[in-house]
Every structure is written in structure tokens, then in C-alpha cells.
Amino acid sequence: MAQDLDVTVLSSAARTATTTSAEFQWLDAKAFMVVNVTATVATPGITPQVQVYDMASGTWVPMYVYSAPLTPTSAHTYLFIFTDTAFTPTGTYIQESKQVYLAPRMRVVITHADADSITYSVGFNRVNSGALGS
């Protein structure tokens, strides 16, 4: 089975505190995560985190945490590649390409550094690959 749809993890909205998405299903070995910031007030900082569900403990476990807060001062799109095979992407548009293993049950946590408002969405988008999990 492979992923057949892109996923809106968080719809666009103005937020002032740490936000946890609903659980979503993902069936591919790779993904493009897009954090699309469209507005900011003052100096917000957000740190994206992806968590996987551990059935044994019944808890959510961090699988990926970006190394430092993103601090946009205006509209900005952040692109993250998650891939089971490491490579260095061409160009300067990719915020980070990280070799990780994705899981069927995941959610995203956006940790806010302060209460400054920031408007953003988070999407998981499919990529073409020979290792889509099918």
C-alpha cells in the first residue's frame, strides 16, 4: 500500500501558542513537509516537530525536531524533506533534508517560543520515489 493523497496536517490559522495536530496516516517512505508562513506579528519563533505513535507505551514519541526555532519576520515558506535514503538536495530552497524513517501514525507539534502571533499551515506532500512503501 502506498500513500495516495497529500495531507493537510494543520490548516492555515493565526496561532500564539504551541499547537499539536491531529493524528494522520502516512504510508510512504519519503515526504515533503511544507510549513507555509503567511503573516507574523512582532518576533515569533516556531520549532517543527514530528512525532510517531508508540503502541506499546501508548504515547507519542518525537521522531524529528528541527534544530532551532524558525524566526520569520514576514511571509516565508519552509521546505523539509524526510527520506529513508540520505542525500544532499540541490539549491537553497530546502530548509533541511533529513534521513528518517516515517511511520503510519504520526502527528506534528509546532512549538512556539513566545506568544507572538504567527499564521501558518503545515502540509505533508507526496514525492515520486522508487521506495514509496508499496
Binding site: 497529500d6 495531507v7 493537510t8 496536517v9 494543520l10 490548516s11 492555515s12 519519503k30 515533503f32 511544507v34 507555509n36 503567511t38 515558506t77 521546505l79 524533506i81 527520506t83 535514503t85 542525500f87 544532499t88 538536495p89 540541490t90 539549491g91 530552497y93 530546502i94 499551515s121 503545515v122 502540509g123 506532500n125 507526496r126 514525492v127 515520486n128 520515489s129 522508487g130 521506495a131
Partner: protein, 135 residues
């Protein structure tokens, strides 16, 4: 996906295209040129924001035919090779920075890769299917 040939004088977007292979090639075929320069930007569709976002740009402007490959691994190619994941729904933003006009065609096509070698191997082993894949 094929756009053109068109005589272009200002920046434009190609129609979106959908591909399924991990390696795709785009040819920007310059048929005629009068002091025009172009620079392609690859864009992917992001469902959450409902917008196309730029994932990579050609390193510089060009006045001549150029080919760009998306590949999920390093490869040697006479044109521009990008180590980058293609997504299922993309388009090109072509920025023009010259003063004249250019007759340009943009063609996108899928490339064979390890993801479909098994099908080719099946054919070469003699077990030729009645219908070739994708036909």
C-alpha cells in the same frame, strides 16, 4: 506535459504536470531568440496552503536550450542535474529578464529508474507481457 512552442516576452507559468517516476527531465527548447534570457524555477503543489511553492531554481539565466533532471540520487548528466525529490504535482515558473522575444517550448517527461527495472527485467527474460507497462 508540453508547453508551446510559444513566442514569449514576459515571465510565465507552465501548466501543472503530474508525474509518477522518481526521475523526470524537462527540456527548455529555445527555437529562436532575440535578446531574451530565461531562468526556470521548479514549483511543487502544497495541499495545506493551496499554493505552489518554489523548490529549486536554475543557477543562472540562459539564452539557449537547457535540460534539467530531477533525480533522487546523484547522477551525471550533460545538462543540469538536480538531486531533489520530484512531487506528484508540479509546474515551472519561467522568469524572463531580457528585452526581446523568445520562441520557447517546455517539455516534461518521465525517465526510467530502478523503480521500474523489475518490469524491464521481466521483458528481457522472455516473459513478454501482452501489454507493455503504461500502454
Amino acid at each position: 506535459m508540453k508547453y508551446g512552442p510559444e513566442v514569449v516576452r514576459s515571465s510565465f507559468y507552465t501548466p501543472e504536470f503530474r508525474t509518477a517516476t522518481s526521475k523526470i527531465q524537462t527540456q527548455f527548447l529555445v527555437l529562436a531568440n532575440n535578446t531574451q534570457l530565461y531562468r526556470p524555477y521548479a514549483q511543487m503543489w502544497d495541499k495545506a496552503s493551496g499554493t505552489f511553492v518554489t523548490v529549486c531554481a536554475a543557477p543562472a539565466t540562459s539564452a539557449v536550450t537547457t535540460s534539467i533532471i530531477f533525480s533522487d540520487q546523484d547522477c551525471s548528466f550533460s545538462g543540469i542535474a538536480w538531486a531533489l525529490l520530484a512531487t506528484t504535482r508540479m509546474r515551472w515558473r519561467v522568469e524572463l529578464s531580457g528585452t526581446g522575444a523568445m520562441a520557447l517550448q517546455v517539455a516534461v517527461f518521465e525517465l526510467l529508474s530502478s523503480s521500474n527495472i523489475d518490469r524491464i527485467s521481466t521483458r528481457e527474460s522472455g516473459a513478454v507481457p501482452d501489454t507493455l507497462p503504461g500502454m
